[in-house]
């Protein structure tokens, strides 16, 4: 479905070179809900931009349904962290959701149907005529999610979408993501730095190392399919999985404590040395 093969990204500026992503390879199966978790500043956003065709990798390639991604592919929707900046402030909620559908040249009736369905699905059936900035942060992010869902993407990428909302809203939005995923069966990659969130949401958690980034672990989450904030999060299995992810991330952050399996990086600026250990 979505293949990421040997992605490497090196940023070069006049006086320094930063290897943001070293070598990333993984595959998403159709209909999967996977979470990508890693320490802050580990190149998650870079990776996501490469996957969505917004950024060229230095080497490697991304394949969506067997086709190489060069520029944003039509079957993909992205939800960004900065909801306040990803909605068009001069358009109403309805217009925001409808715009990509117009661009897809869908008939008006079909557009209306999709807009209403997706706004209802995110619990904003009443907010069609409002402007995004009249809504709370959580509601704005719901609009962005509705826009992505209405687009009927084959793959949905989410870049730390809840990092800027408060805890209660965040829990609601997490459940919303699970619901939407059940309902629309979209292949979803959810990027986060929050370990609990990753374990709670995903069928699978991909753990990234510190920059320059590689995959440290690929963990199947064997929690029951119906999850809820209270029972799932207090289950022993959740705690185990969470501990395992935490341990990996913690080790990623303190490379000294680890049996180094990687060659020293060519990076003069980064104190952290990555590891190729899986």
């Amino acid at each position: 479905m979505l293949d990421v093969r040997g992605i490497k990204k090196v940023y070069e500026s006049k006086d320094r070179t930063v290897e943001a992503v070293r070598d990333l390879t993984f595959t998403l199966q159709a209909g999967e809900l996977a979470c990508l978790v890693g320490p802050s500043g580990c190149g998650k956003t870079t990776l996501l931009k490469i996957m969505s065709g917004l950024l060229e990798p230095t080497s490697g390639e991304v394949l969506l349904e067997g086709k190489r991604v060069e520029g944003p592919p039509p079957g993909m929707a992205v939800v960004f962290q900065e909801y306040g900046r990803s909605l068009f402030p001069w358009m109403t909620v309805r217009e925001n959701v409808e715009l990509p559908l117009k661009q897809k040249k869908l008939a008006a009736a079909r557009r209306t149907e999709l807009v209403e369905e997706s706004l209802a699905a995110v619990g904003l059936a009443e907010a069609h005529a409002a402007y995004p900035w009249q809504l709370s942060g959580g509601m704005q992010q719901r609009v962005a999610i509705a826009r992505a869902v209405a687009y009927e993407p084959h793959v949905l990428l989410m870049d730390e979408p809840f990092a800027a909302v408060d805890a209660q809203t965040r829990a609601d939005l997490e459940d919303l993501i699970r619901d939407l995923w059940h309902k629309f069966q979209v292949t979803t990659l959810f990027v986060t730095h929050d370990i609990d969130e990753a374990v709670y949401l995903g069928q699978r958690v991909l753990i990234l190392s510190n920059s320059p980034t590689v995959i440290r672990d690929d963990l199947a989450v064997d929690l029951p399919d119906q999850r809820d904030q209270l029972t799932t999060r207090s289950s022993p299995r959740f705690a185990e999985l969470r501990a395992r992810v935490y341990e990996q991330i913690h080790r990623a952050k303190t490379p000294a404590a680890e049996p180094v399996g990687a060659g020293a990086t060519a990076l003069p600026t980064s104190a952290d040395h990555g590891s190729t250990e899986f």
Binding site: K49, L54, V78, W90, L99, Q103
Partner: protein
């Protein structure tokens, strides 16, 4: 109700006091340069809202409208082109800054050389003079389109003309309007100036005629007329701007209160 009355009182209070003061202070004025306000108002009504309205005011306003419209179209199109490319922007910005820094009225003598003294010259002077603030603000607005918004548009395949219409122009519109507002005041100034040099009609021409023939009340009345025109155009501008930028003002309020 009392709220409305209070607002009305506050809005009209000072102007009424000032006008009354002018009225009474000048009522028995024998000073040649400061005729009684009653005479000025009489001249305003009889002359400026009389025969001169069609003969002088309308031609001025038409030239102003033509020049301003030309400047708006040219500057916004050029501004989008220049603002989109980093290289073009780098090449042209100092040149544009230089043209903007030239006091527009000094171009009148040059444009008289090039375009003669007809309506065409005046329209070109107005357009050329007021295009720089519009152009530079458009460039700046287009340049500063939010990166996340721009990425969002790209991921949804919004490119080309749709991108211009739904993303670039609206995003730059607060800046563009700031430029349009500056451009409008420059345009009014140039409307008057271009008529001072070579004209057979127009507000600027008529006011200076009045002054040269020492028709003092008419001169004052002509100045009031110019003031009135400036005020009305600013009001019209504000109405349009408030409509177009309602989202922006709302957004700003929301950001400030959060």
């Amino acid at each position: 109700m009392t709220g409305v009355l209070r607002r009305l009182g506050l809005a009209l209070g000072l102007p009424i006091v000032l006008l009354a003061a002018w009225w009474f202070a000048s009522a028995n004025s024998t000073d040649f340069f400061f005729p009684p306000l009653s005479e000025i108002l009489q001249s305003l009504v009889e002359e400026w809202f009389g025969p001169r309205l069609a003969a002088d005011v309308v031609p001025s306003v038409l030239r102003l409208a033509a020049g301003y419209a030309l400047a708006v179209v040219v500057s916004i199109s050029l501004g989008v082109l220049i603002g989109t490319s980093r290289t073009v922007r780098g090449l042209l910005e100092p040149v544009l800054e230089f043209f903007r820094a030239i006091p527009p009225p000094v171009l009148v003598p040059i444009f008289m050389l090039l375009f003669g003294i007809g309506d065409g010259m005046k329209v070109v002077v107005i357009a050329f003079g007021c295009m720089w603030p519009i152009l530079l603000n458009t460039v700046e607005g287009v340049r500063a389109v939010d990166t996340v918004l721009s990425d969002t548009a790209r991921t949804y395949g919004i490119t080309g003309a749709a991108r211009l219409r739904t993303l670039v122009l609206p995003a730059a519109s607060p800046q563009i309007f700031a430029g349009l507002r500056q451009g409008l005041s420059v345009a009014i100034i140039l409307m008057v100036i271009s008529e001072l040099f070579a004209a057979s009609n127009g507000l600027g021409f008529a006011v200076v005629q009045a002054q040269r023939s020492f028709a003092i009340a008419e001169t004052w009345a002509g100045m009031l007329m110019l003031g009135l025109l400036g005020f009305l155009l600013a009001l019209l501008f504000r109405v349009v701007e408030n409509r177009q930028l309602r989202w922006y003002h709302g957004l700003r309020r929301a950001q400030r209160s959060s």
